[in-house]
């Protein structure tokens, strides 16, 4: 079966660990990776591409040293190799301007404010990976346990 990744990015190690930990139930079908900067994530993107793996979802913080989350997601949105990849911005510090940019240029799918609610984050992550699975034409039956049922019904209708 294809290796499908989910990447979480936050420069604060404790926050990153918490996000990765929250997504533990997705580990049955996805590889959940953590990165502590945009540069770190870019390195991982190259690896994923080189190994012929897929990237279903990126959950990124915004304010980080070096490149910001919105800047990185904007570049990702323009990267032909990751066109189906879903994007969540998880931040406590985006200004209105950053947020507008995130929606218009980075095409983010969802925006969470910190502190986040685990159930809401996991629910949204499942919804987005389910969309990814359908859009890529995978058999949803291979993804028992991580499929978002409402999204599933929408596709099966």
């Amino acid at each position: 079966m294809e290796k499908i990744n989910i990447i979480c990015i936050d420069d604060q190690a404790d926050v990153l660990n918490a996000v990765v930990k929250d997504l533990a139930e997705l580990e049955s079908h996805f590889i959940v990776e953590g990165c502590d900067s945009a540069a770190d994530c870019e390195e991982l993107l190259e690896e994923i591409d080189a190994n012929g793996e897929l990237l279903a979802l990126v959950i990124s913080d915004h304010v980080m040293p070096g490149k910001s989350g919105v800047e990185m997601l904007t570049e990702l949105a323009a990267d032909p190799r990751f066109q189906g990849t879903k994007k969540i911005l998880l931040t406590g510090q985006a200004t209105q301007k950053d947020t507008i940019h995130a929606i218009n240029q980075a095409n983010i799918n969802h925006y969470f404010e910190k502190p986040w609610d685990k159930d809401a984050l996991v629910n949204e992550a499942k919804k987005l990976v389910t969309e990814f699975i359908f859009e890529k034409g995978f058999n949803f039956q291979d993804f028992q346990g991580v499929i978002h049922s409402e999204t599933l019904f929408k596709y099966l209708k």
């Binding site: 502590d36 770190d40 931040t91």
Partner: protein, 450 residues
């Protein structure tokens, strides 16, 4: 507005003609009163030398408002003389020793062949004198408006500071509850594990005490090896790498760890979470402490403060921030000083954190911060330097202004509340703050009196 040439000539002629007579010249000493308000005055004075202040009382009993200062070649008594009521509108006091020349209402007119009366001769010069006074009044109003705006802003800041201090107090209570709850949870889990699953206790302890040391990319690199070596999936490999970022760490953990690795990882991760909670609570407390500073109106200084200790405390608070920076310390033998410890810590935190951010944001290789303290006869100095890109010359003055920030992305708000506060605290301690910055070498030098 330049004065036209003919008017200057007219003034010179008037001065020469009317204000050179030795009998019509008086001297007054500094602080002496030339005229009281509404005093009878039939003279028009010209200041030959010195300065006199003209003030006016609106209502009896009220204070005198300073209206204007008459300087060399300016007139006093214009209103009383030309209006013909001969009563001084101002109280005129000499600011310095003054020499004044005058004419009075009986001084005969000197004909210039063009004008018919003294009033007519003086009119243009008087008109320009009055318009100059108007301009000065307008400038004073403008300045007052600006002062008012500044005051209103300062008041706003002070109000915000007070509000922040109130919020800080509430937050401290909340943080306290979380801290205590975390401690109890940690103790309970620790006890419980010891009694029921003692083989997992050490992993919990390890996570709780030390947290995760490896960075995300270290973890990923090692995880790849573990995936192959241990034949586990990448998610599990990643979790093992978080505990054991080096293969030698894994050896230290031993066979026992690998035999029940999934449970051991759970225990370690729970410990790490509790560790992170403790650090986060400390971080929140520190932020609250610095916010409280905003609302503080008086500092609490006391004798016996060891500046080196305050620096060490600041570094402890910044442990997380400076983990990627090489910090060199060179502490001299310093006498104890009279100071506010909390405020000094605040100063160091702000400067060190700025240096750290500059180094990290510009991705300087071999990032370094050096802290040097030395004592001299009357003062001691603390020099905090970094090898970052430096503060551009045009910004060197601005960085001490309250609203200044270079932080473009997001609403940056950490321990640092800006260099304006640093400046204020240092000045409040009778010290001074100097900045010397070039690319690759930026020095903040703080001098404090002994």
């Amino acid at each position: 507005m330049p004065v036209p040439k003919w008017q200057i000539e007219q003034f010179s002629w008037l001065k020469e003609t009317y204000f050179t007579h030795p009998d019509r010249r008086i001297h007054i000493k500094a602080n002496e009163i030339l005229l009281h308000q509404w005093q009878r005055n039939e003279r028009l004075f010209l200041v030959i030398e010195g300065e006199a202040s003209c003030s006016h009382q609106m209502e009896p009993g009220e204070e005198y408002l300073h209206i204007l200062t008459a300087r060399q070649d300016e007139f006093i008594g214009v209103q009383s003389f030309f209006s013909g009521n001969y009563k001084s509108f101002y109280k005129v006091t000499a600011k310095t020793h003054c020499t004044l020349a005058f004419i009075d209402k009986d001084t005969p007119m000197f004909s210039d062949g063009k004008t018919l009366s003294l009033v007519e001769q003086f009119a243009p010069v008087m008109a320009s004198e009055l318009s100059a006074r108007h301009i000065r009044a307008a400038l004073a109003v403008k300045e007052m408006n600006e002062t008012q705006k500044r005051l209103a802003h300062a008041e706003q800041i002070a109000t915000l500071g007070k509000m922040a201090a109130g919020i800080a107090h509430e937050l401290n209570n909340a943080i306290g509850v979380l801290k205590q709850g975390r401690n109890r949870t940690s103790e309970y889990v620790s006890e419980h594990l010891l009694q029921t699953e003692s083989h997992l206790s050490q992993y919990f302890q390890l996570g709780e005490e030390q947290g995760q040391k490896a960075t995300a990319s270290d973890v990923r690199k090692t995880a790849k090896d573990y995936e192959k070596d241990l034949k586990v999936d990448r998610n599990l490999a990643r979790r093992i790498a978080a505990i054991a970022p080096q293969k030698s760490d894994l050896k230290m953990l031993g066979e026992k760890f690998l035999n029940h690795k999934e449970q051991a990882i759970e225990a370690w991760e729970l410990g790490r979470t509790l560790h992170d909670m403790r650090i986060a609570a400390e971080h929140a407390s520190n932020i609250v402490r610095s916010v409280k500073q905003l609302g503080r109106e008086v500092s609490e200084k006391h004798a016996g403060v060891q500046v080196n200790d305050t620096l060490s405390q600041a570094l402890t608070l910044l442990k997380r921030e400076i983990r990627l920076v090489d910090v060199h310390l060179s502490f001299g033998n310093l006498p104890e000083i009279f100071a506010d410890e909390t405020e000094l810590i605040q100063v160091w935190i702000n400067i060190i954190k700025n240096a750290q951010e500059a180094l990290i944001n510009s991705q300087v290789e071999n990032a370094e911060i050096s802290i040097l303290t030395r004592s001299y006869r009357h003062h001691l100095t603390v020099v905090i330097s970094d090898n970052g890109p430096g503060v551009p010359e045009e910004l060197q003055k601005k960085i001490f202004e309250p609203d200044f920030t270079t932080k473009k992305t997001g609403l940056s708000f950490g321990l640092g509340l800006g260099l304006s506060i640093v400046q204020r605290i240092v000045v409040n301690h009778g010290g001074e703050l100097l900045l010397n910055s070039q690319p690759g070498n930026t020095k903040f030098k703080i001098r404090l009196p002994i």
